[in-house]
Amino acid sequence: MASPSPTAPEHRAPVLARRRLVTRVEPSRLATVLVPCAAVALTLIGGTLLFALLGQSPTIAFHAFFIEPLTTRYGIGEILLKTGPLLLIAQGLAIGFRAQVWNIGAEGQLLLGAIAAGALALALSHVQAWWLLPAMMLVGTLAGAAWAGIAAWLRVRFQASEIIVTFMLSSVALQLLYYLVSGPLRDPMGMSFPQSALFHDAALFAPLMDGTRVNTSLSLAVIATAVAWLFMQKSLPGYRLQVGGLAPAAARYAGFAERRAVWIGLLVGGAAAGLAGVAEVAGPLGLLQRSISPGYGFAAIIVAFLGGLHPLGIVPAALVMALLYVGGDMAMVSAGLSNATTTLLQGLLLISYLACSLFGSHRLVRVDSLTVRP
């Protein structure tokens, strides 16, 4: 389509439209790096304008939001702490997204993982054995996958949109958590606060960096990245999954089942989110309470897109998103910004990315080099 070919003058487009957008056959390599960078830059500019709009000094707010977290050991630790769940969930979601399976309920799958692991830790509170934490990780992963599996089953069996079902299930999961921490799993000695008893040390991840809250669960996200890279870039099942997303008709012709893509996409995403839930309750929290995740499940959707749905691209994307979280917390204290700022910047980041993506998937071509379709 883009190749120059001799055309009769009457078939040429009007001179006024000198250049046109043409879909790239293959996304530009340079663009896969430049587009996310441009999106982050646009978000920084947009954020600074937003600070000014909210009546804050842009320089102070910018410093508090984007610079301060990077200058202290505590700040770096917090960024790494929040990178863990974001990276883990986004790797799982990206696999589904590549197959056009839209799991937007990772938040609920995370909660189910947290609930299952927490319930096990509380039930075995007398056990101080090494296998307790791995057992929690196992049940949490399975619980997250099972919660997403409901959506997969409804999609495969009834063609119910997984977008709506996964979102609805995350709202249900939150109510389930509320019920459990104010009822069956509430700490009997806790003066009726809606939270569970504290977990024992055997049910907690070990600290990784002195003076920070970073723990060994970060390694789970790193391992997940390696596994996702091997699966998506090097394995046949991963390739089949992507073809199914890119060209459903071709995939069917080649015998790559759509049903399998739905199951794999949702189960992998749910498992990753469930494991992230375990890392939260067995990490910085150490108990079950009403608030377990500051929206990691939703933010991870943005991380997956910003990372170009590529296992390696998702790593820097998760770090940027973690910075937005930590910066938002710090700016609340030192610049008096509200907790809405992080959400606003998250939205801005995804919008900027989608807007910039046009230049990754399309290119400007001089009209006289184009064959005009009759």
């Binding site: 046109r20 957008l21 043409v22 009834f158 119910a160 977008i163 249900v172 606003l344 939205g347 989608l354």
Partner: protein, 307 residues
């Protein structure tokens, strides 16, 4: 018992109204072939904006205008992403939804937990005093009747007007509409803008009439229920109305059951609307032939203008 019935009937119609406004917008958007998943954020912004206007002493008219404007601005961002930048509609909808939720928290921050006097109910004297049906049909806020008028107008627009036929043609086959010479992007933009205004107004109905207070998270998934409603209703305004009433009734069940004194965990009742959505969605979607008949063919697909 009669009192309870009257309460349920009147409350169902009132609770359905915010959903109805947003759903009437979304059905036009989807009929044009565009899936806007940002309704939750649009409704939240409209709800917060309308509340702030009235809580600061503004009129209801001003509040409705500002809510419509908030929905319009956000839907223009969405339109720019999907029509100009050719972004994936699911991702663009999520992005605008997140932005809208953030904006609603920011707008309503200073008013968190405040209440306002709700819009007055109409009073038709003896008619409004009728047992059971009086409150429900002749004693509602004007927004409830406006919602019903919106259903009628959207039905007429989609099924009886020439412009509606063009919108549907664009949704069924944008390339054919393009080839005939219809400005596909412009028509879709108009549909998206209308959807944004209606979602903003739906949010406003929530804070001005149904629950006259502001709290972060007030929308509570209603925007997603709207997206589900359009599927339930098979993209037909009349059936969407029935779906909205069903959800109005389900959300009232919580209050009604507590009133009667059933010992059910409140969390289960709070989760009920979401569980019912899932169940009904599965039930309605199970026949793929029906879906294929009713669903706009190009729904969710990016249309690249002719080069």
């Amino acid at each position: 018992m009669i009192d309870l019935l009257a309460f349920l009937l009147a409350g169902t119609l009132a609770a359905a109204t915010p959903l109805l406004f947003a759903a009437m917008g979304e059905v036009v958007v989807e009929k044009s072939g565009v899936l806007n998943l940002g309704i939750e954020g649009l409704m939240a912004s409209g709800a917060a904006a309308a509340f702030v206007v009235v809580a600061s002493g503004g009129s209801v008219g001003a509040a409705l205008s500002i809510a419509a404007l908030a929905g319009l601005v956000l839907s223009c961002v969405f339109a720019a992403l999907v029509l100009v930048c050719l972004a994936h509609q699911v991702a663009a909808g999520l992005a605008v939804g997140i932005l809208g939720l953030g904006a609603s928290v920011q707008i309503g921050k200073a008013f968190e937990g405040r209440t306002i006097a709700p819009i007055a109910r109409i009073d038709l004297g003896a008619l409004s005093e009728l047992p059971v049906i009086g409150r429900a049909f002749f004693g509602q806020t004007p927004t409830v009747y406006a919602g019903l008028v919106a259903v009628a107008l959207v039905w007429w627009f989609l099924n009886r007007s020439r412009a509606g036929l063009v919108v549907r043609a664009v949704g069924e086959s944008p390339s054919a509409a393009d080839a005939i010479g219809y400005p596909v992007a412009l028509i879709r933009f108009a549909a998206i803008a209308f959807g944004g205004v209606m979602a903003g107004l739906g949010g406003a109905c929530l804070t001005l009439a149904y629950t006259p207070l502001w709290a972060d998270g007030l929308i509570a998934g209603r925007g997603w229920i709207v997206v589900a409603l359009v599927v339930f209703g098979a993209w037909r305004p009349g059936r969407i109305l029935l779906g909205a009433w069903l959800f109005g009734a389900v959300s009232l069940l919580e209050l009604a059951l507590q009133g009667v004194g059933f010992a059910i965990p409140s969390q289960l009742l709070s989760a009920l609307p979401y569980l019912v959505t899932i169940a009904v969605l599965a039930l309605i979607s199970r026949d793929p032939r029906r879906l294929r008949l009713d669903q706009p063919v190009s729904l969710g697909k990016t249309h690249v203008p002719r080069a």
